[in-house]
Symmetry: C3
Subunit: 201 residues, 3 copies
C-alpha cells in the first residue's frame, strides 16, 4: 500500500510539473519561470496546508527526492517536450487530485482538527497548486470559472466520504483512503466526460 | 464584553463573506470561486497574521463555527441574494476593519512583539483579506488605489491609539480595545462620508 | 564582518524599498500601496523562507529597526524622490540578491535541511520579494520573462558554490559566505552588462 501511494504521488507530482512547465512556455516564460510554475503547481496545495496546520518545515523541504524529480521533469518538459497526450495529463491530474485531497484531510485528522475543517483542508491541498499557478501567470484561477468541469467539487465529495468512513468503526483508514481517492478520481473523469459544471446563480 | 465581541466578529465575517461572494459573481465565477473568495476575504488578514506570528494551526482551522457560517452565507449570497444594501455592507465592513485591526494588534502584543510591529500586524489583519480577494480576481488591490477613501489609514490610526493607550498604566485593555475599534470604525465612516483620500506625490 | 553584513543588509533593504515605492507610483497607487509594495519587495523572499522553514515569528516581526527603516524610506521615496540613478538601484539590488540568497541558504543549513533544498531556499529568498511585488501590481513576474537578464540563475550558481564550499572541510562559513555573495553579485552585474539571458525552448 505504501509503495502504491509512493508511486501514485510521483505520478501526480510529475503530471503537475509537466503541466506547469507547459503553462509557463505558453506564457513566454524562461526556464526559471517554468521550474517555479512547476514547483508551485505540484507543491502549492500541500505547502498551504502545511503552513495552515503548522506542519513545518513543509513537506518538500524535508524530501529532496520530490524536489529533484520536479526540477528535472520541469527542465525536460520545457526544453524537449514536443507533444504530450492531453489524455495522460488529465488522467494523471485526476489521480493527483484524489491523492492530494485524501492526504490533506489525513494530516488534518492527525492533528485532531474537526472533521469539517479536515474536508476543507483536503480540498485546499487538492486545488491550490492550480490556483497559485494561475495567480503567477496573471489569470483568474481556472478552477473558479463557471464553465470549468467539476474539480473542487469532486475533491469535496470524495474527501467528505473518506472522513465519514473514517469516523465509523467499520472501516479502517487504508480502505477509507482508497475509496476516497477513487471517488475523487472517478467523479473528476465523469465530470470531464459529461461536461458537468456547477449551477450558475 | 466577550459576547459583544463574538457577535461583532460574526457580523464582520458575514459582511466579508457576502461581499466576497458578490465579487465572485461579478467575475463570472461558480460557487467554488464564490466560497473561496468569501473565505479569503473573511479570513485572509487573520491567516497572514497567524502565519507571520507563528500562531498555528491558524484561527479558523480550530473554529469550525466560523468556517461553516462563512460557507453557508457564501452559498446563500451567491445563489439567492437579489439585492443587498450597500450601506449595510460598508457599515459592517467598517465594523470588521475595527475588530480585525485591534484583534491583530492584541495577538501581537501577547507575544511581546514591539508596539510598532503590533500596529503593523493590526493593519495587516484589517486589510489583507481584501488584498488577497483582489489578487484572486486578478485586480490591483483596491485599497492601494489613489482614489480609494482612507481605509488602511483608519486601521493604522485606531490601532496606534489602542497600542498607546494600552502602554499607559491608566487604561485597561478592554476600554482600550473599545476605543481603538470605535476610532477605526468612525474614521472609516467619516472618510467615506467626506471622500477623504491620501495625498498623491 | 557582522558590521559589514549589517550595513549591506540595510543597503539591500533600502534599495528594495525605493524600487518598490517607485513601482507603486508607476501604478497610480497611494502611500498605502507604496509602503506595502516596499515591504513586500524588501521582506517577501525572507518571509516565505521563514514560513517554509517554520522560523516564526518571521525575521522582520522581531526586528522593528528594519520595519521602521523600510517605512521611512518608502514614504520619502514616494513623496519626494524626483530622480534616482538606475545604476544605483541595479547595483544595490544585486548586492541584495547576493546577501539574501546566502542568508537564505545559511538558515536552511542551520536546520540541517538537505544541501539541495538549502540552495533552493537561497534562490527563493533572493527572488520572491520581486515575484510578490509583481503579483500585487497585477503583472507576470519579471524574473520569469524570456528577455530578463539572468537573475535567479546568478542566485542559484552563487548559492550552490556557497553550499559546496561550506561542505568541504577547507573553507570556513565566513569566507564561503563572502565568496558566494560576491559570485551572485558579479554574475548579476555581468549578466546585465552583456545582456545574458537563458536559452528559450
Amino acid at each position: 500500500m505504501d509503495d502504491l501511494l509512493f508511486i501514485l504521488t510521483y505520478i501526480a507530482v510529475a503530471a503537475s510539473a509537466i503541466s506547469g512547465a507547459l503553462e509557463a512556455r505558453k506564457h513566454q516564460m524562461d526556464i526559471v519561470g517554468a521550474t517555479t510554475i512547476a514547483f508551485v503547481t505540484a507543491f502549492g496545495g500541500g505547502t498551504i496546508r502545511d503552513l495552515l496546520l503548522g506542519r513545518t518545515p513543509v513537506f518538500w523541504v524535508v524530501d529532496p527526492g520530490l524536489t529533484i524529480t520536479t526540477f528535472v521533469i520541469a527542465v525536460i518538459s520545457f526544453y524537449r517536450l514536443e507533444y504530450v497526450s492531453n489524455r495522460f495529463l488529465v488522467f494523471a491530474d485526476a489521480i493527483g487530485l484524489g491523492i492530494f485531497s485524501i492526504l490533506g484531510a489525513t494530516y488534518a485528522l492527525q492533528l485532531e482538527i474537526s472533521p469539517i475543517v479536515a474536508v476543507l483542508m483536503g480540498v485546499i491541498t487538492g486545488i491550490f497548486g492550480g490556483v497559485l499557478r494561475d495567480v503567477l501567470t496573471n489569470q483568474i484561477p481556472v478552477v473558479f470559472g463557471q464553465s470549468t468541469e467539476l474539480y473542487a467539487t469532486c475533491s469535496f465529495i470524495g474527501t467528505l466520504l473518506f472522513v465519514l468512513l473514517n469516523a465509523t468503526p467499520l472501516v479502517n483508514i487504508l480502505p477509507a483512503s482508497l475509496i476516497g481517492t477513487l471517488t475523487v478520481f472517478s467523479l473528476r473523469m465523469l465530470a470531464l466526460r459529461f461536461k458537468m459544471t456547477l449551477p450558475s446563480p
